[in-house]
């Protein structure tokens, strides 16, 4: 059953990714990207990565779509075709080389849920055992983000703050 869902949603994923590149109207591309995020989120859920799925839906399908729409309200909606034929050949070569390298990389990856894989042998059992005792938080992801990796999250928040500040300084200067 899970295999059917996986295949179904991976097919939708590829279709929406292809359509987002294929459409000449950028509004259609934005909507396709939103659908893409949604399908990725469903796949995260089947992998039991609910926190990631939640973030993907909220950020990828929700807010980033709205931000892209806000950009679209300022620029031309239709993509102009300025790509020459020799550029297309170069792009195709790069895509095939990158795809080949990615396929090579997947051969070293563990099978899904492989109990003998190195992170499943000591790291994940260690966190599962320690987290509730040490932090009292049942959600291990939040405990790792806020407690064990608290410095990282502090840095991330600062990055978001600086990003917002930069956008404000560049775009919001003149108007008062």
């Amino acid at each position: 059953m899970t295999v059917i869902i996986d295949i179904l949603f991976l097919t939708f994923l590829i279709i929406s990714a292809f359509l987002s590149v294929y459409f000449k109207d950028l509004l259609n591309s934005t909507i396709s990207l939103s659908a893409y995020s949604f399908f990725v989120a469903v796949l995260w859920t089947t992998l039991n990565a609910v926190d990631v799925a939640f973030t993907e839906v909220a950020v990828g399908a929700g807010v980033s779509t709205v931000l892209l729409l806000a950009v679209l309200s300022k620029i031309d909606r239709v993509e102009k075709n300025q790509i020459t034929k020799d550029r297309k050949i170069i792009a195709l070569t790069v895509i095939f080389i990158t795809g080949y390298l990615l396929l090579l990389a997947t051969q070293d990856m563990p099978n899904f849920g492989d109990p003998g894989w190195v992170t499943n042998r000591y790291l994940i059992p260690d966190y599962i055992e320690r987290t509730f005792r040490e932090t009292g938080a049942p959600n291990i992801v939040t405990a790792i983000l806020g407690s064990y990796r608290g410095y990282d999250t502090n840095g991330e928040t600062t990055v978001i703050f600086i990003a917002g500040l930069c956008v404000y300084m560049i775009l919001g200067r003149e108007s008062k």
Binding site: V50, D51, A53, F54, T55, A58, V59, G62, V63, V66, L67, L69, A70, V71, S73, K74, E134, T135, G136, A137, P138, N139, V141, T142, A143, L145, G146, S147, G150, Y151, T153, N154, T157, T158, I160, F161, A163, G164, L165, V167, Y168, L171, G172, E174, S175
Partner: protein
């Protein structure tokens, strides 16, 4: 934009629930999926929906632009203050167990909630700021 009655009524009904849900996601980040970042994004999405229907001015009447700018910094400040308070109380930076008046268990719980609130405030104000500044008509 011309205000459709369906759009206005649907927004009026939906926005409070979106905002409450975002606070739920924030408060339950320790127990269920979610946390400050997701909650902040949902909170921003609720206000974005509101200001898309009723206009940006209607939103700025509630939280002014300078207020929004200040919020981006206040979130980071809350997060960093938690770290410094625990440091001056004899622990290391962000050692929640050393927050004043709290022991190991409650300190971790309250500390996690405080930093999630910091992340929440920064994320929601930055998302709103991005939306308003990028989608501005005149600039």
């Amino acid at each position: 934009m011309k205000r459709h009655i369906v759009l206005v009524m649907a927004t009026r009904i939906m926005v409070p629930f979106i905002l409450i849900f975002s606070l739920y996601v924030l408060a339950h980040g320790e127990i269920s999926p979610g946390g400050g970042f997701q909650g902040g994004v949902i909170f921003a999405a609720g206000w974005i929906l509101y200001s898309m229907v009723f206009g940006k001015e209607e939103f700025y009447r509630r939280i002014s632009r300078n207020m929004l700018l200040a919020f981006t910094a206040i979130g980071v400040m809350i997060y960093t203050l938690v770290g410094y308070v625990s440091m001056f109380n004899g622990g290391t930076y962000l050692e929640y167990a050393k927050l004043p008046g709290l022991d190991m268990k409650t300190g971790n719980s309250i500390g996690l909630l405080l930093i999630e609130i910091g992340v929440f405030i920064t994320v929601f104000s930055v998302m709103l700021l991005l939306f308003f500044e990028v989608g501005k008509k005149d600039g």
